[in-house]
Amino acid sequence: MQRNVYLFGLAALIIALGIDLLAGDASLLPALLFWTAIPQGIIALAAAADLSQGRWILSIKDKLHRFLPLLILPPFAFLIYALHHTPLYAWHEHPTAWLEPTFFTIRNVAFQLLTFGLAYLYVRASRGQSPRTGVWAVLYCLCFVTAQTMQGIDWVMSFEYPWISTLYGAFFFIEALYLGVATMALLSLLLLLRHGHSFEKVLRDSGALILGFALFWAGQLYAQYLTIWYGNIPEEVAYVAKRVQHSPWTELSIFVVLAMFVIPFAGMIPRRSKVSPALVLAAVVLIYAGYMVEKVIYIAPVAPLSPLFTVLQFIALGLPAAYLLRQLIRSPEAEKAAV
């Protein structure tokens, strides 16, 4: 089954390359960010559970580990993106030592490959219940944090060079964890529907985590917004003003806050909604949509981005994940036989 996921990944890359050549804009980037955040976030959650010896996740941990093959997409998809689109960046004409096309491409591909490598070593150790699982879990988590930070700072923030926000990179890995939690909730609810009550506890815990992460996400978004709003420094405010004071970005920004915070948070407060598959599914879909729209808001004001191609790339890069999800939900016996 793992091998098939890799094959789907390869197919996805070829399709994405084709669409990217057709599109000629940055439409690969939002999809790439999304499909990187989910597997990285999920493996990070599994690693955190291993490090804290959390028992709540045990029923689902091996399924979380199976997201590993998806991590082979980011380095190569990013390579496709970087080879074609570094001219879109503000620093392309006036490169610095750090922001220079070749170094930019090589270091990010290398880091994504390293992330995959460490994830592989961690998953192998955890599956084999090796005593060195903790070591690999820590190394993976450190790499995850750095990789996500670099994605935020290099891939997205540098569009607006020299504008900086020190929380930007951390915000990206918080979002990756949030997406990971949402995906875990999605997996739990599908497993609950298919296989019954043994997955109810994990679903409830995932729902509670969505509640917590929604609030945490909103808090970090607010921390950035408030600091920039209050300081009112023109060079700094311009970034935010561009994205909240002009249509259609104003409406999209409101949608992002509703979809990633208000609705999932309010929705997951009542006890019963945490175990209601319909409500959790709604929250997860909103979180996914909110994330994609948020990335579009970051990128579109400064780089060409066509909605059609963004959606097509989202579907293309999502093929291996869709296949994986289908395989994970099939009956455990069939799954064991297939592996």
Binding site: T166, L167, G219, A223
Partner: protein
């Protein structure tokens, strides 16, 4: 199957033994901390008499040791709530051995912290002007100011923590009531509210505990974020940066966990509670220490790197000043204590060695105090305009008041250890099956 009742009875006796006639070492510790407290109060009295000029704060460094102390003590408070509330929601059982002590630490740390805005006011008798109430001057406080947010955040934190701590103690106060006589029994009868342990009492109690934990959790994040915004809402380099909120929260939990270790390692020995607070519990605390240390290190790196990345001359100049300027020794010591030394916790033998953890926690406390000092003073000493550059040296009065704050904290803590149950007896019983 042997009766658990015997275990429960023994647990009660062990914890209550800590509340009986204390050893000489207790009285010595109480005397020392009370003396420190008295010195602090004396220094404050001198400052009220002579004016704020006896402190070293002046242009351009208008905030110095007092604000450092304020942020330090509020930070210490956060770990208690993390252990009581956040770990409760995460169902981490190891918390039950020290959540009572940690919550007590929170209360006393917030009380100590709350004193510093008053000390810093100079004309501290006008402190009530900080609260919004209808007045003859026909004005209201400036809700747009982070200093007013502080008033609300710290007051909320104190109130909710106090309620949470007290409510958690009610069943334990009922236990102490059972073993007490005379006046002591009357006091515990009143404060245990007539608790019996009926099923509806437990039902309401359980729900209240969970809701308070759920309410206290966002407080852990928000209160120290608000305190960090005292700095981040300015425009000077080194202060105006978006990462301050999570950076300070992680730092707060870091320093608070270190203080828990500093307090509980000796307390466990003095009160013979080794059976209930084991080395494994400390190992879990050490892991939290390591985790938060790494978040703080991440923040240091990101701040530093992005300053150079941005090419912004003032940001670069500021970080060079921090590293090589007037306060460089404090900065390097801070990095050693906060980022380098905690890495030794990766070694299992070290993190299971209580003496080592105790010493490490002392270094972390020093390092985190220095971090606040370096952030506050270095940014104020050298911001945009060279005309307004200057340095700051704390005076003896400020040192005395800082010493007094430690004295106050330890005095309250020692009194708590003597008069109230230091372990959460009921919660330990619950998980011992």
């Amino acid at each position: 199957m042997s009766s658990l009742k015997g275990t429960y009875d023994q647990l009660e006796k062990d914890v209550l033994a800590a509340m009986s006639k204390p050893k000489k070492s207790f009285w010595l510790a109480l005397a020392v901390s009370s003396l420190m407290f008295a010195v602090g109060m004396g220094c404050w009295g001198w400052q009220i008499y002579k004016g704020l000029g006896v402190a070293g704060i002046t242009n351009p460094v208008g905030w110095g040791v007092y604000i450092t102390d304020f942020v330090f003590w509020v930070g210490i408070a956060h770990s208690g709530t993390l252990i009581s509330a956040v770990l409760f929601l995460f169902r981490a059982r190891f918390r039950n051995s020290f959540n009572r002590t940690a919550e007590a630490m929170t209360i006393f740390a917030v009380m100590t912290a709350g004193l510093f805005p008053l000390i810093h006011l100079g004309r501290c008798w006008l402190f009530y002007w900080l609260f919004p109430y209808p007045n003859e001057r026909l004005l209201w406080v400036n809700f747009r100011s982070p200093l007013v947010w502080d008033v609300f955040a710290v007051s909320t934190y104190f109130t909710v923590s106090l309620i949470f701590w007290y409510v958690g103690m009610v069943p334990d106060l009922a236990i102490v009531r059972r073993y007490s006589t005379g006046v002591r029994q009357w006091i515990f009868r009143i404060f245990s509210l007539g608790w019996r342990g009926t099923r509806y009492q437990w039902e309401h109690y359980g729900k209240l505990y969970m809701f308070l934990a759920a309410l206290a959790t966002p407080l852990v994040i928000s209160v120290h974020s608000v305190v960090s915004w005292d700095f981040a809402m300015s425009v000077i380099p080194g202060w105006h940066t978006t990462i301050f909120a999570p950076y300070f929260v992680a730092g707060a939990i870091f320093s608070g966990t270190a203080m828990v270790i500093t307090l509980v390692v000796p307390m466990r020995r003095i009160f013979n509670l080794e059976k209930y607070i084991t080395v494994s519990h400390f190992e879990s605390l050490a892991k939290i220490l390591l985790f938060t240390s790494m978040i703080v290190t991440y923040s240091y790196i990101v701040e530093y790197v992005l300053a150079f990345y941005s090419g912004h001359e003032f940001e670069i100049a500021h970080f060079l000043y921090r590293t090589f300027g007037d306060y460089k020794y404090l900065y390097w010591l801070m990095l050693l204590c906060n980022s380098v030394l905690p890495l030794t916790i990766f070694v299992k033998k070290l993190r299971r060695n209580l003496a080592y953890l105790f010493i490490l926690s002392l270094f972390v406390n020093v390092g985190m105090w220095l971090e606040r000092f370096v952030i506050i003073v270095s940014s104020l000493a050298k911001d945009y305009d060279p005309y307004a550059w200057g340095t700051y040296t704390p005076t003896l009065i400020e040192a005395g008041i800082t010493l007094g704050s430690f004295g106050m904290f330890f005095t309250f803590f020692l009194l708590f250890a003597k008069y109230l149950p230091v372990l959460s007896i009921t919660e330990i019983k619950e998980i011992s099956e």
